[in-house]
């Protein structure tokens, strides 16, 4: 346990410390010595495009989060609560479509973006992220809604509540934890992605953080490990914090969705 703990912490610590190192450090090792400085963070925002990468990522991530959470919550609710023609068929459709690697239809996306004049534009990328997340997250959401006892709906109906009212003021508050998790995941998926962003965003000022950070280290002659580390911390920290805050909801969500596919 202790050894595994060390193995897990070691690389994280290296990145963290390197971020505060003097700019001419090239070696990527754990070393508490040397001069500590905040200059790297300043450099990031003054002499690189990091600021706009960060902003781009936020814009894409937040729009993805808002839209996806709305769509997935509604769909998950419907699949959990209603019986309707074609339900089983469409649930199966969801599972199968989830197995198709979204990222694999690269050429088609490229041509489509060209045709719609959407290359280097965020809306197209955002739509792809949202669409790609829908099948699996609808499943998870449905699983979680299934855990909310149906009796609640029934008694509300007896009290004269309409469909919308039942959904909004009775069931929705009970699934808040799962909605929070969905929001985090929807927010994280654009941050995480490298492939699509690199492929569909062509100008450097339009990059997302993942694509931008890579430019700091993909050139073997001119690796800027300190800048990379500083940038990495700035992305990773808020996400990790949010993650730990929400993590107690993960298990129930995972199991609810997982046991049924």
């Amino acid at each position: 346990m202790v050894i595994l703990g060390i193995i897990v912490i070691y690389p994280v610590l290296i990145t963290f410390i390197t971020a505060f190192k003097d700019a001419n450090v090239q070696a990527f090792v754990l070393d508490f010595g040397g001069k500590w400085t905040l200059a790297n963070f300043k450099t990031l925002f003054t002499s690189t495009l990091y600021g706009s990468w960060y902003l781009n990522t936020m814009v894409i991530s937040i729009s993805c989060m808002v839209i996806q959470v709305i769509v997935v919550t509604l769909a998950g609710y419907v699949y959990s609560r209603y019986r309707f023609a074609g339900k089983k068929f469409s649930l199966t459709f969801f599972i199968v479509i989830q197995m198709v690697p979204t990222m694999a239809a690269l050429t088609a996306y490229y041509v489509l973006a060209n045709m719609l004049n959407a290359l280097d534009h965020y809306w197209f990328l955002t739509a792809i992220y949202i669409g790609g997340g829908i099948p699996q997250n609808t499943w998870l959401m449905k699983g979680y809604f299934d855990n909310v006892p149906y009796d609640l709906d029934e008694s509300a109906k007896l009290d004269g509540a309409g469909n919308f009212k039942i959904f909004w003021s009775i069931v929705l508050p009970l699934v808040k934890p799962m909605i929070a998790v969905q929001a985090l995941w929807a927010f994280m998926s654009p941050v995480q992605d490298y492939l699509m962003a690199k492929f569909l965003l062509t100008s450097e000022s339009h990059y997302t953080v993942a694509v931008g950070l890579q430019t700091f280290i993909n050139n073997a002659q001119n690796q800027q490990v300190v800048l990379f580390s500083a940038g990495a911390i700035l992305v990773a920290f808020p996400i990790a914090a949010l993650f730990f805050y929400l993590q107690r909801f993960f298990v129930s969500g995972l199991l609810a969705g997982g046991s049924k596919g």
Partner: protein, 429 residues
């Protein structure tokens, strides 16, 4: 109320709307007639030429853009499918409503009734529509286009609109299996993809299960701290970790060669290890990325298994202890079967995820080092090879599409088999 002839209602619906008129649902009938008219007009004005263009892919270069023709053709196929679904629903509706009338049930006639019906039973369709629209636009449509591209000759020598594309049938596939240069690359990449998927995923599952089981033993102290530490790799965005690791494994300046191996050599001087070429030797790069994936992937499994373990009743273990079972026996007979019964579908998604884990491969070392031909590097898996085929200096779009098709069929096929076997498919409704 007057009895309706169910057969007649359905027969009238051969033209959508007429059956509904017969049932007395005038407004619905008008709406359906309008949809029919719109579709016929659309088909006559655009559809016919879209299909014709899809078949011919154009005849005049510079003027006809074969790619756009594929896209419009695909769009027309989807529109037609949606119409066919509507048409079938219309037949069903006419029959169903006629039966309802015969059974003395109320059916909606006015706008208001239709509206409230939509908020009731139709509520379900209304709320799922956005999900479907988004999925069709961002997944189904591109996949169908890719599927079609796999049968064309779209590559760097044929880029519309300067050149026309042609249908080449299964040429891209036969090339991959019979043309020696492509076959060698394909089998090398495919072989490594399978090895990578199996090793990396199994490793992360084993570490995840082991950690969860050990961390849940009663004698372990500081559970919370370990819990937080173990979640770190999951909480940090993967691309950050992978890029950090590519620095850490750097041959000359990375921590592994400089510090870890250095420390080992100081502590155990008689078993001296020379610095390892993590980034320049294909074998060691493969070892490194499998280990890193174990690091990245185990927390997810760990969290899930922890949840499952807490659901196993203690009595089971106590009873086993009374019967004189050893720790190993309890683990093999109680713990493992429970885990697999619940988590099998998630394990499968982990395998399929790694099968297409582009970030891990590409961000660590761009699929390098080495070269196995046709743009592919020594550690490229199918998905990163596709990326290189598409973005390289001499792109092979149609070949990339063909590889995509093969991947999708494989992944879907295997997952379906496993899901069927583990009964994950069974739904309560």
């Amino acid at each position: 109320m007057q009895k309706k002839d169910v057969k007649k209602a359905q027969r009238l619906s051969i033209i959508p709307g007429l059956g509904q008129f017969y049932n007395g649902q005038t407004i619905k009938g008008i709406m359906m007639l309008v949809i029919l008219a719109v579709f016929i007009a659309e088909f006559a004005l655009v559809g016919v030429s879209a299909f014709a263009n899809l078949v011919s892919l154009g005849s005049v270069s510079m003027e006809d853009n074969s790619l756009f023709m594929i896209i419009y053709g695909t769009l027309q196929i989807l529109v037609t499918i949606v119409f066919i679904v509507f048409y079938i629903a219309n037949l069903y509706d006419a029959k169903h409503v006629a039966e309802l009338i015969n059974n003395g049930k109320k059916v909606s006639h006015t706008f208001k009734e239709l509206g409230s019906n939509l908020l009731g039973g139709g509520f379900a369709y209304l709320l799922t529509t956005p999900a479907y629209l988004l999925m069709i636009f961002t997944i189904v449509f591109p996949v169908v286009v890719t599927l079609l591209m796999a049968f064309t000759n779209y590559d760097f020598a044929h880029i519309p609109p300067a050149m026309l594309l042609d249908w080449v049938g299964f040429k891209n596939f036969t090339q991959m299996f019979f043309l020696s240069s492509y076959r060698a690359t394909f089998s090398a990449v495919f072989g490594w993809t399978v090895i990578w998927t199996v090793c990396a995923t199994t490793l992360q599952i084993i570490i995840g299960i082991a950690t969860a089981v050990i961390a849940n033993q009663k004698f372990i102290k500081f559970k919370r701290i370990f819990g937080v530490i173990f979640l770190l790799p999951w909480a940090i965005p993967a691309f950050v970790s992978i890029m950090s690791f590519s620095n850490i494994f750097n041959d000359s300046a990375g921590a592994i060669n400089v510090q870890v191996i250095g420390l080992w050599n100081t502590l155990v001087p008689f078993a001296h290890i020379a610095p390892i070429h993590w980034m320049t030797d294909t074998f060691w790069t493969k070892v490194a990325i499998i280990m890193i994936q174990g690091w990245l992937g185990f927390p997810y499994i760990y969290v899930m298994i922890t949840g499952i373990l807490q659901a196993i009743p203690d009595d089971l273990y106590e009873a086993a202890t009374l019967d004189g079972a050893t720790v190993m026996q309890k683990f093999r007979k109680i713990t493992l079967p429970t885990i697999f019964a619940i988590a099998a579908p998630i394990f499968v998604t982990q395998y399929t995820f790694n099968f297409n884990n582009f970030s891990m491969i590409y961000l660590f070392n761009q699929g390098g080092p080495g070269d196995v031909g046709a743009n592919a590097g020594g550690t490229d898996i199918l998905i990163s090879w596709i990326y290189k085929l598409t973005t390289g200096t001499s792109p092979q779009y149609s070949l990339a599409a063909a590889v995509t098709l093969i991947i999708s069929v494989l992944v879907i096929g295997i997952s379906l088999i496993v899901f069927k076997k583990t009964h994950a498919f069974e739904m309560e409704d």
